[in-house]
């Protein structure tokens, strides 16, 4: 059982090893905790999770593995907010929606809806039956009552939500998209990235000390505090992803001081023969892409940020651009950039699961040689690791 748990944790990307497993056994053996499910959960968490960004994941695995073992069955499905909204929209007329909102208790309705769904899914028979029933509005029978929303009938048994089911650490999850909540974490990662790969410099104090101790000249080096990383950022503006792109821009701007040099450029959908620096004057003041390729050395690292969602022609064909006539295809320009700058990545604010459904995203990913990462803490981490990889 516990070994299965370890496997499940590892499969979920929590870096636990047999060491932690043994520690857990030792702790159980020494009666560190009282024999209560909550205490066991807290103990296991303190042993296996060393990063608050992974607690939510841990909670989900814990619920799954110990379902039926510790008390009643657990709920593992996370019900995304947007999906709830969609479901609600499907089952409610616009008038009803308005009415709920005007009652001012939208959040509460969402909560109830979510809870009902979870209860529904936790049950063996029935499953998510009602979701498919399309026509019959669960709010239909008995009329709509804002305090007691009924969806697909009452649940059979009430049960207390377990601590690990509360998902209290959800907003710390590393795989969440970048938002105001985790932007600070992202910034820290970025700083770390900026300091990596710094050259060594002479450590005068240690050299004097070493020399005095040894009696001969003992040169000591240390990593340079200053950073050496130089960045070119290309941001896709003017689309539905603007808020995310802006956030990303803010993120990097906040880290400006950490980098030796950083330049921002904007493009729309795909990179072509020119970009711009000032959005207000995007048609008047353009920077030829060639100039960038010539001006900034090969040691610059390149980051594209955009959803890469467009008509495939906008990448593959000359003249495919939406706003004007481009003599050479976007693909040609992407190849020029990735050829000039070996260290290059693409950050994509859309969810990874969607990438394969968009032809243009697939093409762009190929052009980037697979170096496309989601705009999440984890994605940023992976991208920075790729950029600092020794080549």
């Amino acid at each position: 059982m516990l070994l299965n748990f370890l496997d499940a944790l590892r499969a979920a990307g929590i870096p636990a090893s047999i060491k932690e497993h043994l520690l857990l056994l030792e702790a159980l053996d020494r009666d560190v905790i009282e024999r209560r499910p909550e205490e066991f959960y807290y103990l296991a968490r303190a042993i296996y999770v060393k990063d608050e960004g992974l607690i939510d994941r841990f909670d989900q695995v814990f619920a799954r593995v110990f379902k039926g073992v510790l008390g009643q069955e657990g709920v593992e499905a996370e019900i995304p907010e947007e999906w709830l909204r969609l479901v609600a929209e499907k089952f409610l007329t616009p008038e009803e929606m308005e009415k709920i909102k005007s009652l001012g208790d939208w959040d509460k309705i969402m909560e109830t809806l979510k809870q009902r769904l979870e209860e529904q899914q936790g049950r063996h028979q029935g499953g998510n039956k009602w979701i498919g029933t399309g026509g019959t509005s669960p709010f239909g029978h008995g009329g709509y009552n804002p305090e007691g929303v009924r969806i697909g009938g009452e649940s059979r048994h009430k049960r207390a939500i377990k601590v690990w089911e509360k998902r209290e650490f959800q907003n710390l999850d590393n795989s969440r998209e970048l938002g105001t909540r985790n932007i600070k974490v992202a910034l820290r990662r970025l700083r770390r990235f900026a300091r990596e790969g710094a050259a060594d410099e002479l450590d005068l104090d240690e050299t004097i000390r070493g020399t005095a101790r040894q009696g001969w000249l003992d040169i000591r080096m240390r990593p340079e505090r200053h950073n050496a990383v130089k960045l070119l950022l290309f941001l896709d503006v003017g689309g539905s992803m603007d808020p995310y792109i802006k956030l990303c821009e803010e993120l990097f701007s906040a880290a400006t001081g950490e980098f030796k040099n950083m330049e921002f450029f904007y493009f729309h959908n795909c990179l072509y023969e020119s970009v711009w620096k000032n959005n207000a004057r995007r048609f008047a003041e353009r920077t030829p892409t060639w100039d960038i390729l010539h001006k900034y050395g090969h040691d610059y690292k390149v980051i594209f940020v955009g959803d890469a969602a467009m008509s495939p022609y906008e990448i593959t064909h000359p003249g495919g651009a939406v706003e004007y006539m481009n003599p050479e295809s976007g693909a040609v320009w992407m190849q020029r950039v990735t050829h000039t700058y070996p260290a290059a990545v693409w950050l994509n604010p859309t969810q990874r699961g969607h990438w394969d459904y968009s032809q243009s995203t697939k093409i762009m990913r190929q052009l980037m040689n697979d170096r496309m990462y989601p705009l999440t803490i984890e994605g940023i981490d992976d991208a920075m690791r790729e950029l600092t990889r020794k080549r």
């Binding site: 090893s17 560190v32 905790i33 303190a46 042993i47 105001t180 820290r188 770390r192 005095a212 101790r213």
Partner: protein
């Protein structure tokens, strides 16, 4: 003995489990969380509960791992040698004991606090691995070995500014102090101000949690700021209706300087208050 929190410290259930596990199995306890969430005080409370001396090592950005063991002042010795000082013949005159040395050789089992480990160099925790594992180290200059009779209780705190190395993490119990919810915060306030008016705390907490939600604050006020603020409110004997004031022209909480320390934050907050006032007109 079991750590159950103390008269002056509110410990949540998950924290208790982590502390007890670390104390019983003598593995370091790594505590992370926003500044002001009671990490440092926790170590002091554990020491109190165990009736053990507390040895505090406050880490700074320039702190080096070996300083926790000992420092050999070779430069001073060289100078003394040139000046013909007789002290020069006794090498131990130039050895300064560090906090780990102190902890390992303490006559009574101590609690060792390594506070804000993330401030130091990335290599810092790695450099301490062996010594913390073995609870012993060798003094190269004098040839002696300093070893602990019994493994001290070790508490390490981090404000989360840097990642810690895996090898280091594998050896620790970990606890993340989630920012206290209202209920926990109420309990914390109660231990600091027993008998405080419930309604005052409730009003103050409304304002406090609201301010924490203001987007873009450089430094969100935390537990310690709330406590400072309550203390001021009590000292000033602020009439309750000032906090309750629904008059929007007085939307800024009195003595808010205790909550917001950063000048930029105060300015932004005042601007926000100004805007709400205008909207309400």
């Amino acid at each position: 003995m079991r750590f159950e929190g103390t008269q002056d410290y509110v410990a949540t259930d998950d924290l208790k489990v982590a502390v007890n596990a670390a104390v019983l199995l003598r593995r370091p306890l790594l505590v992370k969380g926003e500044p002001g969430t009671g990490k440092t005080v926790l170590a002091q409370e554990i020491a109190k509960a165990l009736n053990a001396p507390l040895i505090e090592w406050n880490v700074k950005s320039t702190t080096k791992a070996h300083q926790g063991l000992y420092e050999y002042d070779a430069v001073a010795r060289l100078r003394d040698g040139q000046l013909g000082d007789p002290r020069v013949h006794e090498i131990s005159n130039y050895i300064r004991k560090g906090k780990l040395w102190e902890a390992f050789s303490s006559p009574k089992l101590p609690v060792l606090l390594i506070d804000e480990i993330d401030k130091a160099d990335i290599e810092f925790p790695n450099d301490l691995l062996q010594e913390l594992d073995r609870m012993a180290f060798h003094v190269y200059e004098t040839g002696e070995t300093i070893a602990a009779q019994e493994r001290p209780v070790v508490v390490i705190t981090s404000n989360n500014e840097k990642e810690l190395p895996d090898a280091f993490l594998r050896r620790c119990f970990f606890h993340y102090i989630k920012f206290p919810d209202r209920e926990t915060m109420q309990a914390i306030v109660d231990v600091h101000f027993p008998g405080i008016q419930k309604i005052l705390v409730s009003k103050a907490m409304d304002i406090f949690y609201d301010i924490r939600e203001v987007p873009g604050l450089k430094k969100k006020p935390s537990t310690s700021e709330l406590l400072d603020w309550l203390k001021l409110l009590l000292n000033e004997d602020m009439p309750l209706d000032v906090l309750q004031n629904s008059d929007p022209t007085k939307a800024i909480p009195p003595l808010h300087g205790a909550l917001l320390k950063n000048e930029q934050d105060i300015m932004m907050f005042e601007r926000l208050a100004f805007m709400t006032r205008r909207q309400q007109r």
